[in-house]
Subunit: 234 residues, 2 copies
């Protein structure tokens, strides 16, 4: 009986990894779509999000069924409840990748991102994808060190976000308001995507150690970062 | 024994209502702070968010303890799991109210919102606050009709958001890039806040009817709304 139970628990973990894999791929492809103004690719990302939503619904249904049937306590209960939260993070990440793709579609055949911000957006997209790949790895390996590393990668995302804003606010900005609005939203999408990847990793830390990631890192010296508009991630 | 149990369940409901009350007040005060450039008020909103986070942590701990001790099934299990999700929505709404307040603080003593958008932002702030007040009422009364009404109110938010974007994209925009960025982010904060209020109400519908709100409303004629950049709420 307990074997079938742990199989169910494993299948929930597998579902989370699959979701992370899909949304990681989605943010990568959405980034390509918006940088290349590739309508077909954008549309494939938009459509693919349904699969992520479906996975989430299935995963939630299994988690709730497991709670009802097996009535887990202690660690197992924590795993199931935390999995529900992680699936919500991943589902939302999928939405954000979809937002990037929808912006690509909206501006097609034009490019939403001007050439001088191409590299920054590419870097944000790649970092977002890497963060999600690491989050998936953390789900599989339960590697606390790797999980804590994600927070540092997220600092890099904050820096990129800041770079983006500095560029926007520069007096030499010549791309007009529409592009400024697009770039502002894009920056926010990537930043939130990264937040959700970090959140997934933090939840694994909590599962493994029983402590919140912030507490573990409290002794570390945090890089000094000044707040800028739109860099809110809390 | 069951009495103590239902008392616990009620106390979780009370916690949700209290959270909704606090974040509803926060978005109202944050809106005043940003429109009046009131630094003290902005700071009080920023500080007050800790109380919302604290409520969420307490509520989650009680919900998990209740799952472990009482091992509810069927409807009661659904209530507890759904409460966890609602508390996540409300916590995030609090963050968004805090973002509005932080923007007010960042631009102080200047005003982040130009005079010609004052009325639109005021309306968005008021609507956000009303939506959350209704969400709180839905938690208390479990009134499905009122819950469905929130989705229509959210259409009004989408319209306001669209108005904001039209204004931004207008060739006569004369407030520069920084203000365009601020207004873009503000619009997004209010829109997401409203999404979370609607989400809370939808979850109550699901609890009461076992059906998702979308299915219930499927027969209704949806207003035709064209997508614009930044109006993504999915």
């Amino acid at each position: 009986m307990r074997d079938a139970y742990h199989e169910e628990l494993d299948s929930i973990g597998d579902g989370l990894v699959e979701m992370a894999r899909l949304v990681g791929s989605a943010i990568g492809r959405a980034t390509t779509a918006i940088l290349d103004s590739d309508l077909k690719l954008a549309e494939s990302v938009i459509e693919a999000d349904a699969k992520v939503d479906e996975l989430q619904h299935g995963l939630e249904a299994r988690a709730i069924a497991l709670l009802a049937r097996q009535q887990p306590v202690a660690t197992d209960l924590r795993i199931v409840v935390t999995s529900l939260r992680m699936s919500a993070d991943l589902e939302r990440s999928g939405d954000l990748a979809q937002h990037v793709a929808k912006l690509a579609r909206l501006r097609y055949p034009n490019r939403a991102v001007p050439q001088d911000l191409h590299a920054t957006i590419l870097e944000m997209g790649q970092l977002a994808q890497r963060l999600m790949a690491k989050a998936a790895e953390v789900i599989v390996t339960k590697d606390v060190d790797l999980a804590l590393q994600l927070e540092q990668d997220d600092d890099a995302m904050d820096l990129l976000h800041r770079t983006l804003f500095q560029h926007l606010m520069d007096d030499r900005w010549k791309h007009g308001i529409e592009t400024a609005v697009d770039v502002t939203l894009l920056g926010r999408y990537y930043e939130r995507f990264a937040d959700h990847a970090v959140s997934v990793a933090k939840r694994v830390v909590y599962l493994v150690t029983g402590e919140h990631a912030d507490e573990i890192q409290a002794a570390d010296i945090q890089p000094e970062i000044q707040p800028v508009a739109g860099a809110e991630s809390a």
